[in-house]
Assembly symmetry: C2
Homo-oligomer: 256 residues x 2
């Protein structure tokens, strides 16, 4: 029975997709059966695994509109242990996803329930919003992981995200827990980075993961290489960082 981890932040470009792809690959290299479930209409996950988005037959949009069964939309990637359910096929659009999410907050939860028997972990890549799609994502998850960029703008967005989490816990998903805050794109040469990292540890203490992800060019070329960084550059600073994050999350999940 899979654990469902939602990677969420309403702030754009903080590393949600980079985190989902690399964590998924890192868990798979530990022998886990991983499903990457893409709710973000941008469709940035497929190229990270060398999949041409124009070849996608059906996306989550078709599943939520009951055109096909969830398992029929799952793609086996070329990486052992990693499957992908993409948000949109070329003929589908973002509005269909938003309409389904606004009509029925628990709809993704029902889709996930049909899929969890077949995997060890489901990682959900959410869009940069706190609207209908993000709420549907949080309602479907066991836990949520928040990438936080070590920059001023990103730090201030945590309050509204926490409000949304509390609303979803109250109305739909009381069991939802926090997997942690993951500090991303850290450049400790800048005073801003050091200051924000300290503030995060002071304010959110035990929720902040000890492993941080540095700003590094090796994490930018996944769509070019067609593979996650933990695969094509496992020994690089970026690859090592995400392997450490995966190890820390797995260790946390063992705790009682």
């Amino acid at each position: 029975m899979a654990k469902v981890i939602a990677v969420v932040s309403q702030k754009g470009g903080v590393g949600k997709t980079t985190t989902a792809a690399n964590l998924g690959a890192a868990f798979a290299r530990e022998g886990q059966n991983v499903l990457l479930l893409e709710v973000d209409p941008q469709g940035a996950l497929a190229p990270c695994f060398g999949i041409d988005p124009t070849t996608i037959q059906h996306g989550l949009a078709s599943v939520l509109q009951d055109h096909i069964e969830p398992r029929a939309a799952v793609i086996e990637t070329s990486m052992a242990g990693v499957s992908l359910l993409p948000a949109l096929a070329p003929h589908e659009d973002e509005l269909e996803l938003e309409r389904c999410a606004s009509a029925h907050t628990m709809h993704l939860r029902e889709v996930v329930d049909a899929l969890v028997p077949h995997y060890d972990v489901v990682i959900v890549d959410a869009p940069p919003t706190l609207g209908f799609l993000a709420r549907m994502t949080l309602a479907a998850a066991d836990s949520y992981l928040v990438p936080v960029q070590a920059e001023q703008f990103a730090y201030r967005t945590l309050d509204r995200l926490i409000d949304t989490v509390e609303t979803i816990k109250k109305d739909f998903n009381p069991e939802l827990t926090c997997e942690g805050l993951l500090i991303t794109m850290v450049d400790l040469r800048t005073r801003m980075s050091v200051k924000v990292v300290n503030q995060l540890y002071e304010n959110f203490g035990d929720k902040v993961l000890m492993s941080m992800v540095p700003r590094t060019v090796t994490l930018q070329d996944m769509p070019v290489k067609g593979k996650p960084t933990v695969v094509h550059a496992a020994a690089s600073r970026g690859g090592k960082a995400y392997n450490d994050v995966a190890q820390e999350i797995m260790a946390n999940q063992q705790k009682p």
Copy 2:
């Protein structure tokens, strides 16, 4: 009669808000009367002008639900010539904005029509999506400006944005034109940056603005300083770059 420029990109964190705030301030320093119209529920604009978001009485959400007149929601910032209509007051939420946008694509256009007699330029800060909020934004604009990060992910998102623009032109706003593609966060020390900049000029030639914005720490601390970079650090690389962008846009608008 104001020109309405929408700053759009479904990619997160590419510099939409940083561009909207700095362009607005640069135009105001040229003597223009500027309205910043925030459609992005994140509310990142207010802190760029030293406005505490908890003091906001009514946002665009109230205007779209007909609780108040558009002009009643406009805040005079401490900077001469710059006014702000924020997306949300603390008691409002993102879902209200999304519902209004899905119900009535032209609703923002009607709000803008009530405001344009009072300004020289309206700059709209859009959220990182191509859903209902983005479409409502494009339907309300005279032109759209796209910040494009000099990184692989960002480059590939232009196709879907252009499809959305074409749909909106066909169904709602035939006069919509492209103000340009603005290359942001350029770090020409990295091979990735140089390659992406070349690809953009090859593929979109005359649409790419000549002025580019470097990746620089001076563009990150607007919420800390409570002022746009073109105001608090006009001579810095970041301040100079956005002044150049403003000059180029104003020169383009003079052409027949």
